[in-house]
Symmetry: C3
Subunit: 288 residues, 3 copies
């Protein structure tokens, strides 16, 4: 008889995400095994339970989803998960802690609709957070020159180093961006801006955006007003504003959700997938 598809949800938050669970249900997962408050040292037993219960030919019917609001904690859980695997004894796993991978993928896909990225210069504001860093990785992976902006140069440089370890050929420029002048210089000459800042912090004033003559796409990933890029509405989805195509957090949400569901479904096509930012982005590219 056909095995039911089982998704093991490992979440570092005390209460495992309802969001991730509903998406899994809508991605046709048959059975969810949900775990909240997962500590790294508990991962092994849980993963062994996924690995050692079904024969090798059935292991692709079991998969693992790593979530939770703390992206660094999720990354540590993912590391522990993959350490359990050996030879053919493994199950597929995806990480989307805090939605960072699907959000960054949806944002970069939105930009790619309007600008050939391998020829573009892009600016990521608040690039050192989890979504920002992933946006930098995905843009650089597509061949874009990326300006990596943070409030301090040291943090921007650290983010660049982290990306360069994954993508040695990445063309990155770390920038300290605080004053209006620094913002203006950072935007100047870019075709794409992605703002990935915390809720309620304005990163790009409207008058500077309006004066950025090369800017083709402006994407703001903050759903709570005020927007990180002044003038963008959260619901913007390809909205023309003073020469730039604009997207807000809700505007990229539809794509984000489709990518999330497609990634969950893909987990059950093989038992050896590890879906992190790049793999999830590639999946989004294949969908469009």
């Amino acid at each position: 008889m056909a095995r039911r598809q089982i998704l093991v949800q490992l979440d570092s938050d005390d209460q495992p995400s309802v969001f991730d669970a509903v998406v899994a249900v809508d991605a046709e997962v048959d059975v969810l095994l949900r775990h909240g408050g997962v500590k790294p040292d508990r991962v092994r037993d849980l993963v062994y339970g996924a690995m050692f219960t079904r024969g090798p030919e059935d292991l692709h019917h079991t998969a693992i989803f790593v979530g939770g609001s703390d992206v660094a904690a999720g990354e540590e859980l993912l590391r522990r998960v993959t350490q359990c695997f050996f030879g053919p004894m493994r199950v597929s796993v995806m990480i989307d802690a805090n939605g960072a991978n699907t959000t960054a993928a949806a944002a970069v896909l939105a930009a790619a609709r309007h600008v050939p990225l391998n020829n573009a210069t892009a600016l990521v504001l608040a690039a050192t957070g989890p979504v920002g860093q992933r946006a930098v990785r995905l843009l650089a992976g597509q061949g874009a020159k990326v300006r990596v902006a943070s409030r301090t140069l040291a943090r921007a440089e650290a983010a660049c180093q982290a990306v360069l370890q994954r993508i040695p050929q990445a063309q990155l420029t770390p920038l300290a961006v605080v004053s209006d002048d620094e913002v203006r210089q950072a935007v100047d000459g870019t075709q794409v801006v992605i703002a990935a800042g915390a809720a309620g912090i304005q990163l790009l004033p409207e008058r500077i955006r309006r004066s950025a003559s090369d800017l083709k796409v402006a994407i703001d990933l903050n759903a709570v007003p005020p927007a990180g890029i002044e003038g963008i509405q959260a619901t913007d989805r390809g909205q023309q504003r003073e020469g730039a195509v604009c997207y807000g957090a809700i505007g990229v949400g539809g794509t984000k959700m489709k990518i999330h569901k497609a990634a969950v479904r893909q987990l059950f096509t093989a038992n050896n997938l590890v879906l992190d930012a790049e793999e999830i982005f590639a999946l989004g590219q294949a969908m469009t």
Copy 2:
């Protein structure tokens, strides 16, 4: 494809209720997302996960059940749940913490089978607890004059005030009832008595009940001997005892269970229902 029905179980107890889960399964819920030890400050993320995953046209396929043995904690969780909603962005929710709503509804429905409530005088013993207060609300909502009895007048008056805020036209009389004389006076002239006390506390001695000449229906909601109303058996279900029709906790349990299941099913008929005591009682009325 049809969305599966998802019920998010928010329970303030460390271990979420198995009782509520089994009833949900038997009410044909497809997927249960169970959360125990839910603190008020964690509600928002969980509810957002229910609200922001399915499109507006599909939101009635997701609903929330608030439970747990602590009714006050459940009420706070419900308050936090409804605070998350805005405009059409909402899902249906019901509260039955400690079974208080379905128990009170089943008790008042049992009384209504034998006495026209809008003409009746009813006494609720131990009326300040969660089940007692709900019984007072439901009786008053049906137009009955209700005597609200507690060990102290202050608590009885506070319970009346709480009910009056919801039902300004309620006809309530607060009573301090401790001595046999006070019990006798409280029962005298009533057609309905509901005892909603804690396990093992006798509230109405048999000789007083026998001498209450107007009494038509006596309902005791305590399943553990001794009964709150002496002489009633927990399994009584319309049993005639000295001129009064009697119900015990198990005797109203069948109706309680049917109401509980019907309420869960109703959650999935719309995305804007809030099922508290009155709505659950109305559902029970419609079933009979």
Copy 3:
């Protein structure tokens, strides 16, 4: 309509076992209600929720599985579960904390394939642990004379006493086994040896095993090298080694898994089963 089969998983570990959950899914359980970190004083409410939600004629569609890595904690949970039952108000329950029952059953079944146990003398090394004690019980229950070996005589004697309380006619010999001479004497004259020690501890050196002329079956239940019985591979499954048929931990794992699934399925055939080591072993016998 047919009731869905519900299995309530009570696990003493903070994170309930994924292993047990996947096996339950593959045993065709419809709905899993999983509880981790279950404390004895929380059992009653959970079990009442299983007992009081479906009518007596439907109670066999709900069952309880007690698991967790701590076998003593699991036994206490089982005791609390069965204390809740009265008259026909009960549901079936099985315990397989740390896999001890299914592992011991699979090991003794493997031995029984090659040696008539009611005529045999068997040695259980590390017999005082949860798997070892169950192996002793099952061997004694089949009529074998059992040598019960531990590092100290006092612990071996205590284990014998515990088994004799269940099986008064058991033929047990407690042994302190530390030195090579003690191991040699313990093995001498036995047809069956089962090693149930902790990971990484060698209990029976290869040269002593080779010189044990009566030995027909050697079973090692340790999956992590070095083996408890030197020379046995974890994957041995009836492997001939110097005159003895050998089984390793993985070699008995297939049978263990089949027994586990069959036991879960059997839970739903009646509402009054308590499946502990002997019942699970009997189920394994019936399968072969």
